[in-house]
């Protein structure tokens, strides 16, 4: 798996230029790699930059936003040097995206069938008839037993879960290498959510895609991701495997997030809420962006922003607690203190 990076993002910066010379640093120096066949999750709270990261990969950033730095390489090819015509080809064909609200991508005035046929014919040299056959096949694949009828229905005639299935059919219609799913199940009820996420994973296996899964739901991460990026304030604060993020949690923000979460398995009297709230992207503090909310904040944290450093072969964290003495002695530092607090 490791040898085969599909997408490599490095030093990505996407800023929004607001009134009064404010600059919202929505994505501010993000690096990560997605390997072939891998599901990489981005988690974080509202406004942490998850969606802007994925929209930047698709180059769907509109004014006043702008990608100001970095490279985004798809199989070694930097997408940021492509013309908009070339990008149109790449979107849908090599990288596809599904959204929380399928209606943002489905056109209400065209039937489901005609929209997917359109998408296929834009990218593949198929006759109308062959494209229609392919769409019926796809709709069957994503779990529409009455695919032929659904072809002629309009998006509003479908339920939320069915629309999301139609979106998935459209997204996989050209065998993309990478599928970006931004909160694909957030608007759905849990029983439907499970159906949709299972379907995505089944399609991933079948088509050998990689998935970038954007979510705020740590349960979804635990069940579906291989690796995880935790974002806070436009940056990655922790990156590791799905096991390690839950069992060897390092960053004080991630620890706080996990303790905030009520769970079905364990019973706690009080939830370990993180104090305060996320700073807006145009008002990040000079030092660590989590400093105002962090129970371990030190003088140094207010001075400068820590780097995202490797603390184990497959584990990175952006926090001075793990930089001080370096290595193992500080391994459980944040966690034990957090536990003592409770």
């Amino acid at each position: 798996m490791k040898e085969n990076p599909v997408l490599e993002v490095s030093n990505l910066k996407t800023y929004f230029y607001l009134e009064n010379n404010f600059v919202a640093r929505a994505v501010d120096g993000v690096d990560f790699t997605i390997h072939q066949g891998e599901t990489l999750a981005i988690v974080g709270e509202s406004g942490s930059g998850k969606s802007i990261t994925s929209l930047s990969i698709m180059q769907l950033i509109n004014k006043p936003g702008k990608i100001v730095d970095g490279t985004i390489c798809l199989e070694g090819d930097n997408l940021l040097t492509k013309s908009s015509k070339q990008m149109t080809k790449i979107r849908g064909n090599d990288i596809a995206m599904i959204f929380q609200e399928p209606m943002t991508a489905l056109n209400p005035v065209y039937t489901i069938g005609s929209q997917i046929v359109e998408t296929i014919r834009k990218h593949k040299n198929l006759s109308k008839h062959a494209a229609r056959e392919r769409v019926i096949e796809l709709l069957n694949l994503v779990g529409f037993p009455r695919a032929k009828e659904v072809m002629n229905e309009y998006p509003h005639q479908l339920s939320g879960g069915m629309r999301q299935r139609a979106m998935i059919a459209m997204a996989i219609s050209c065998d993309p290498k990478l599928l970006i799913a931004d909160e694909p199940s957030t608007a759905l009820d849990v029983t439907i959510q499970a159906q949709i996420l299972d379907l995505l994973m089944e399609m991933k296996e079948r088509l050998n895609m990689s998935i970038l899964l954007v979510t705020h739901d740590l349960g979804v991460v635990a069940e579906y991701a291989d690796r995880v990026l935790v974002m806070y304030g436009g940056q990655i604060v922790e990156e590791t495997t799905v096991e390690a993020i839950f069992e060897e949690t390092k960053h004080p923000y991630t620890i706080g997030l996990l303790e905030s979460l009520p769970s079905l398995e364990k019973e706690v009297k009080r939830l370990g809420a993180i104090k305060g709230s996320v700073p807006p992207a145009y008002l990040f503090p000079k030092g660590c962006r989590f400093a105002d909310r962090c129970p371990h904040v030190m003088d140094q944290c207010r001075e400068s922003n820590p780097e995202l450093l490797s603390i184990a072969p497959t584990h990175k964290a952006r926090c001075y607690l793990y930089e001080l003495g370096g290595g193992h002695s500080h391994d459980n530092r944040a966690k034990t203190t957090a536990e003592q607090k409770i």
């Binding site: 849990v190 029983t191 635990a222 069940e223 839950f246 996990l258 809420a273 104090k275 709230s277």
Partner: protein, 339 residues
């Protein structure tokens, strides 16, 4: 009298009445007409709530879960008498309020409040925080202006905001802070019963935890009774004493939370619980997959409303509506498997 004194008084009288029922709903139905044709005749009904009975004890939190469209919010609004039931009785503290007119309801309104999901939509953006919190006092009581001011300051501090936030406007606050404002406003009249309709669903988890902790503290301090409506089963488990599961306008199961979560009986509750993604990366729970979507409440299936998705459905489920019956003490289920 300050809020503190009033609340103390309230608390005392409530302790005397411990374990009493504050709200009793019997056979509630709420049908909304569907109009159609050129003459806008009624061509059918959306059966949003269909024969629901439950009781809520003083000081407890009853959780109400179910998928969207299952009728949770409609039931909440009927209990508060923001909607009139099509059939059935709503008894609040022993008085039948099912069909009281607005004027007569006013006496009850101050005892019952609601906190909504969307703190952005539910607060009037043109009013300052002070005005928002004092409005119910102004409308419902004869409390003087300086007293109102003092009370709003106390309330703001109670919900973790500051006295000088009174002069600010809702847009100056984050989602979590706005929800605190809504809670302060709901508390202004010193209510006994609060319906929380998805109060934390729009909030990030770290903020959600702050608000849930606050709500638990306030409940203890003021002996509040909550009906907590949510679709997040983990949140409901955390905050509730008992939990009711709704499906398509009906209660499928109702039990003390330990029983409901450890020993769910209804096939729908079982599927629902098994579908919640777990953060336990070592042990994966087996998911019970439900096929299909929630049917339309305008055209619910005959017999058991869950039968179109139920893995255990059998002949009887098509023709007979299962009654909600008590399996063990306090554990109710509506399913033919248990009859």
């Amino acid at each position: 009298m300050t809020i503190e004194q009033k609340q103390l008084q309230n608390k005392k009288s409530e302790q005397e009445q411990n374990n009493e029922t504050i709200m009793q709903a019997s056979h509630i139905k709420k049908y909304f007409p569907i109009k159609g044709g050129i003459f806008k005749h009624t061509i059918g009904h959306v059966k949003a709530v269909d024969d629901v009975s439950l009781s809520i004890k003083k000081g407890e939190t009853l959780g109400l879960v179910g998928e969207s469209g299952s009728g949770k919010s409609t039931l909440g609004r009927v209990l508060l008498r923001l909607l009139e039931p099509t059939e059935g009785e709503v008894i609040f503290e022993g008085k039948d309020i099912s069909h009281l007119n607005n004027r007569k309801l006013r006496a009850y309104r101050k005892h019952m409040q609601i906190v909504f999901q969307d703190p952005f939509a539910s607060l009037n953006s043109k009013m300052s925080v002070g005005e928002l919190i004092e409005e119910p006092l102004l409308v419902q009581t004869s409390v003087s202006k300086p007293e109102r001011k003092q009370m709003s300051v106390e309330l703001l501090e109670k919900v973790g905001l500051r006295a000088n936030d009174r002069a600010k406007y809702p847009h100056e606050f984050s989602g979590g802070q706005r929800q605190r404002i809504s809670i302060a406003r709901a508390l202004a009249l010193n209510p006994k019963f609060i319906i929380c309709d998805e109060p934390v669903s729009a909030l990030d988890v770290s903020i959600q935890a702050q608000v849930l902790n606050l709500m638990a503290d306030l409940q203890e301090e003021y002996h509040l009774t909550y009906l907590f409506i949510a679709h997040d089963l983990s949140v409901v488990k955390h905050i509730s004493d008992r939990v009711a599961v709704m499906y398509l306008g009906r209660i499928a199961e109702l039990a003390p939370k330990e029983q409901l979560y450890q020993n769910p009986l209804h096939p729908y509750t079982k599927a629902l619980l098994s579908s919640v993604p777990s953060t336990n990366v070592r042990e994966k729970r087996e998911k019970i997959k439900l096929s299909g979507d929630l049917p339309s409440p305008a055209n619910p299936p005959s017999g058991c409303v869950f039968r179109t998705r139920c893995p255990m459905a059998h002949d009887r489920c098509i023709s007979e509506i299962p009654a909600l019956s008590e399996m063990e003490k306090g554990h109710f289920v509506a399913c033919h498997l248990y009859e």
